[in-house]
Symmetry: C3
Subunit: 343 residues, 3 copies
């Protein structure tokens, strides 16, 4: 961390200061937790009221906001500017420069690029290729023939099986498993025979895989995670699934085998997509939901099974009234019986 | 991989060729992805229409199917024949023949069978017994007194605690945890006291445990996974649960402590079975469902809480109509009020 | 294990024997599985009928229970006494006394307390501080600057990232991940930019974290697990969440970022709490449920989205009747049409 002036921060994001450019900023914090010397940010208008009570010395916000209580740093996209400023002030995690550790186990047939660090207790199998600037943490296993691009980070105890392809700028969090055999069996005479999984996993550039996530390799078709997609902790992706570029899969999501998601879908926590179906681009699925049919581009879905979110919201709101509705129906029936008997 | 003639493939599965037995087959692929030279398969009749458009040179199918567009390989069970042929052409993963690595940590009191490979950074604790033909990948931990049969595969960073019993032909995927203490506490005066878990986990022959799955040891009763059962990625099985032979537990399933499943149950993804109950043989549970009461043999269940699937299907279909139903009830009430007032 | 007399067991828990104090007890088992020589326990009155059929030689129970079929050990809290007696007879897992293994990788700047055991293939990074009496199993990774108290157990392949704070008496199960970056991105021009996660995870005293669980570090605010809270297998806790002291989070629970739970909440298996909300003290959430709004102290909630459990129970019971209700509504409508037409 290094203290910055508000003017320096503004310059780093191309923003405009309303107030004292020479103000020293020592930390970054949410509006309600910020102290004097901190910069905060307002991106969700629902928190605008906090501008009058925050103790932050400066607030990153958009050009339509004004405040006399503190200095402002006006930008087009306050949340992105917050992200940039946090990175400018604190940076991301620094990795140890250890080169190739003598305590790692690196095959003689593996190729490791320049400036890549292979830490202790790492296993790099035969014919693996790793690009430059990678950081491989202790306990990582990379199986035979797998190719990894430049500037990747593999955190402790992550496992990548054989023959997989990992792009550049990929981050694999701790204890994630990539490329294990999928859940595929041919049942014959009461025995579940393991189907060979002869395809692989492809993680395109800038993908991030969460801690303890599990991405199965394909049986006959590759499992693909598209460019820039972010996969949360403990997500499971089945064999042969395709996740489009820029998708966000929140923790504990399950995507069944051979499901296809378009680009920039957002799949809420603990949600699921069943197998053999197509989800369009920019589809949003609420947390705890399950898609069981094809979904067109741009739809917002909710519920298990998922229906359009607006419809689901109304149905779930009515749900608690079910016992009362049933009583009402019974009463109406009795009243109708009586009326009819009088005819 | 090795090219085969269609005749060789037919011989390997005891099937009958309709067409040219000398056709060279170079790969195996799904109907819609297959190219010339590929063999494909048709087991689900819903895809029969693809027979006229597939570019596969040959298709594995059943004896009731005919096609003039490509050679056919007729068998009794096309999906199983596909599995056999994929194995015949490609085999399963080959394991490195390293013997007992000097970089492994193997207790002097452990016994390792013939032709077993213990790779780097493996820990084999005191009094462990491992059979012949096993492959133990880097980072695996096997706790004291645990016994493992023949021809097992333990993939990287899998953990098996003390005193467990693993049969023969068992596969444990990467980052799975077997035999940790269960979630059991006795709460007294606001403190949760850890209950000793003095029982173990038993994995019977030919069980497969998915990546990042967690199988708790029992407190007073063993946790048992029956012969040939297959447990998906990120499944959690609670202390003392019994999973019958041949069960299929799809990824992210949760089975609570001391639940008992009969043989050949199929539990859909993200489903749950609550504790202290009995599920019969051959019960099927739809994805995203939860069994909270005992279930008889052969039932097909769905919903959370689960009811019979046929009933659940109708109820869920009606669910989206709830707001409309409520409006209708209100209208009926008004009309009835009016009718009554006229009496 | 060591045989004990019933009198010794009674003394260990301050209970009263009804029957022969010199009875030798060799094992502990549930009522229906117990054999002669075993002690069992009755804490849930629903199993009282088993007192007449159990083969246990003695039963731990409360002072209101009587039985002529076997000896009784009367205590105030039978379940807690069972826990104490299981610990008295069998103890918890013993850990190997290896000191600091030469096969571990321990930074010269790390400080390790007395009587702590660091097993093979462990990585202890720069400036780590570990208290006394800790047991660190193979494959564990502890990142730079992290501080760990006394008498902690870190099971195989658990990962704790940099700058975290772990209290005393903490247990981290195998393959758990603590302190990885959270799922936080600022999306700008179609790219998801990683938000720096400059805060940490704090595990207070006596916390237990389940196998394959994932606890994200905070972006701007620490993630905190309060004293004595127990977190189940495969639970995911998002960045900046606060879990109050004594909470029980059953396996596969998901807590979204910045959610706050009060003290002694019990969150059922596969349940979820969405982000940016407050759950009071002693709230209970049924399995498979999802809290999406603030919840007051002491509420019992169920359903997804969660409503009060009593209401949810009635609504779910009515749910299966939905198709029938809809038919009834249609019939009533027709009858009403007819009646009106007669007016």
């Amino acid at each position: 961390m290094q203290n910055k002036t508000l003017g320096e921060l503004a310059e780093s994001v191309g923003g405009k200061v309303i107030g004292d450019e020479n103000l020293t900023i020592t930390n970054i914090a949410p509006l309600m937790e910020a102290k004097a010397g901190d910069i905060s940010f307002l991106s969700n208008k629902k928190y605008r009221k906090h501008l009058t009570t925050t103790k932050a010395s400066a607030v990153i916000t958009d050009k339509e906001t004004s405040s006399s209580a503190q200095a402002l740093l006006l930008v087009d996209d306050p949340y992105y500017a917050f992200c940039q400023i946090a990175e400018f002030m604190f940076g991301h995690r620094k990795h140890p420069s250890c080169g190739i550790s003598e305590k790692a186990s690196v095959s003689k047939t593996a190729k490791i690029g320049e400036n890549s660090n292979i830490q202790d207790f790492v296993t790099i199998s035969d014919n693996v290729e790793i690009g430059s600037g990678c950081n491989i943490y202790p306990g990582v296993f990379v199986g035979p023939n797998t190719k990894i691009g430049d500037n990747c980070i593999l955190y402790p105890n992550a496992v990548i099986f054989d023959d997989c392809i990992v792009g550049s700028g990929v981050i694999i969090q701790a204890n994630a498993t990539i490329g294990q055999d999928g859940f595929g069996f041919a049942t014959h005479n009461g025995e579940h025979h393991k189907i060979p999984h002869i395809s692989k996993v492809i993680l395109e550039d800038n993908v991030e895989i969460g801690a303890n996530a599990a991405i199965e390799r394909g049986s006959l078709m590759d499992t693909v995670i598209g460019t820039g997609a972010k996969i949360g902790d403990s997500v499971v992706i089945g064999h042969g699934a395709k996740i489009g570029a820029g998708c966000l899969l929140v923790p504990q999501v399950g995507i069944a085998g051979t499901a296809e998601l378009g680009q920039y879908c957002v799949i809420g926590g603990q949600s699921a997509v069943t197998g053999h179906l197509k989800v369009g681009n920019m589809v949003m699925l609420a947390a705890g939901s399950a898609i069981i049919n094809d979904v067109e581009d741009g739809k917002i879905m909710a519920g298990s099974p998922a229906i359009e979110a607006s419809q689901a919201k109304r149905a779930y709101r009515t749900f608690a009234k079910l016992p009362e509705m049933r009583q009402t129906i019974n009463k109406l029936k009795k009243r109708l019986d009586e009326l009819e008997s009088k005819q």
